[in-house]
């Protein structure tokens, strides 16, 4: 499968919930997924043949959070970049750790740094910072000494 075919497949499977498909460069597929359909999209991607989760990055866009999933398919040579918007007042998203066990530490790190709660994560604790920290340092409204 190449990028277009994956796009077609996803559009067929999810008439609603995925949007904004674009191809930044060869072997790269970028699209957005709704927050509540994210896990289904990821499960579908895994079934298609995206074997490994490379990176989960959490972004603070001031108006909303965003989770960016980079999912690799070594057999097709494609990286899928899935953007998910998360509202500021309810920073929750479904965990993809049941889909890829490798997402475990990435999600813990995103929770640690940005305060996004991954629902369904087996062991959501702080990973890099001490357990008794009460703030999330990578948020844009974080100030030193706060």
């Amino acid at each position: 499968m190449n990028e277009e075919e994956v796009t077609e497949q996803l559009k067929r499977d999810f008439p609603k919930g995925v949007s904004d498909f674009s191809f930044p460069r060869k072997g790269m597929l970028r699209f957005s997924a709704d927050r509540d359909r994210l896990k289904d999209v990821c499960t579908r991607l895994k079934d298609i043949g995206f074997e490994q989760i490379s990176l989960i990055s959490a972004l603070d866009w001031r108006e909303h959070f965003e989770c960016v999933y980079h999912i690799t398919s070594y057999s097709f040579g494609i990286v899928a970049e899935v953007h998910t918007e998360i509202p500021l007042d309810d920073p929750k998203v479904d965990s993809v750790t049941p889909v890829w066990p490798g997402a475990n530490f990435h999600e813990r790190e995103a929770y640690d740094m940005m305060g996004i709660v991954f629902e369904g994560h087996p062991d959501l604790r702080r990973i890099l910072l001490p357990d008794d920290f009460t703030f999330y340092p990578l948020r844009k409204n974080f100030r030193e000494g706060e």
Binding site: R25, G27, E51, Q52, L59, V68, P101
Partner: protein, 359 residues
Amino acid sequence: MTKLWINMGPQHPMTHGLWNLRILVDGETIVDAEPVLGYLHRGVEKLCERRTYNQIIPLADRLCYVSSLCFAHAYCLTVEEMMDLEIPERAKYLRVIALELQRVTSHMTWLMAIGPDVGLITLLLYCLREREYFLDLLQLQTGARMNQNYPRIGGVSQDIPSNFEHKAIKIIDKFKVRVKDYHKVTNESSAFLKRMQGVGTLSVEDAIAYGVTGPNIRGSGAKLDMREHDPYEVYDELDWEIQVRDEGDSLARFHVRMGEMQESCKIILQALKKMPDGPINVKAPLRPEGQTFRRTEDSRGEVSYYVVGNGGESPYRLKVRSPIFCTMNVLPKLLTGVNVADVLAIMGSIDVCIGETDK
């Protein structure tokens, strides 16, 4: 017998760096394991949000103090792609040479660390000796031994001197002779084999699912190398082979890395021969915009940067994927059921670097 939680770390000879491996032992057998990270967290991602794009390069160097050039290069590559920048051909070759030199030194560090792990301190000193020669070469090229700050957005900082090729050939020849000695000390002595063989077996499926990359996954039999899979610089023009082993145990990972060192030497010599003349730097815009994700092959695995720029002097968000951080994920699975002494052989073969893990 009662089970004991044992802390291997943060101050423990097993940990190469500052981390803690908690293991639950039943006698000498490990029942459960849990890596505890974060002792070396420096908040690099937050720091990057306040530095200009150029000033991040020395910071990226310090992510991993053993293969610093790889991290700085991956950052530059990502930002260049965000800027749509095509760097000169000579700079690409220079980068490849520096990267492969760094890969050899990094693997030498791994080899010298695995020695004391299994109780072979002599190996440490032998490897330090040869690593010094490669650091000399690296210093000749980049101006510093450890944190080189060599790649720039749009090229490299300086050219190689005229006597570089001569010295490189001399040192690589010397190294090839010495590698035979290492093989005699390690994988040709069955005392070493006894420690490494059949220990810490990791299947391909598990390795991929848990996000293991680099030499560790190649030791499990997956022919994955970002230099080949997602080629950057001039790796597709050079003739080299991916080192793959099927066994998936510590010894396989050992062999993969030993082979990679020699492949790196091959690449260096080829690149020196094929390198064209020309400029080594192009001008880069100062305030790029966009978002890019780029993967490169570090000596430990896949290093990716996800950079979001919003037209300011500093990136809006920079996210590092450090290979060992992802590999730590698999530890509970890898370590359950093995002996206490095998932890050393397994962790040694995984090649832990805490600088990049804790970011």
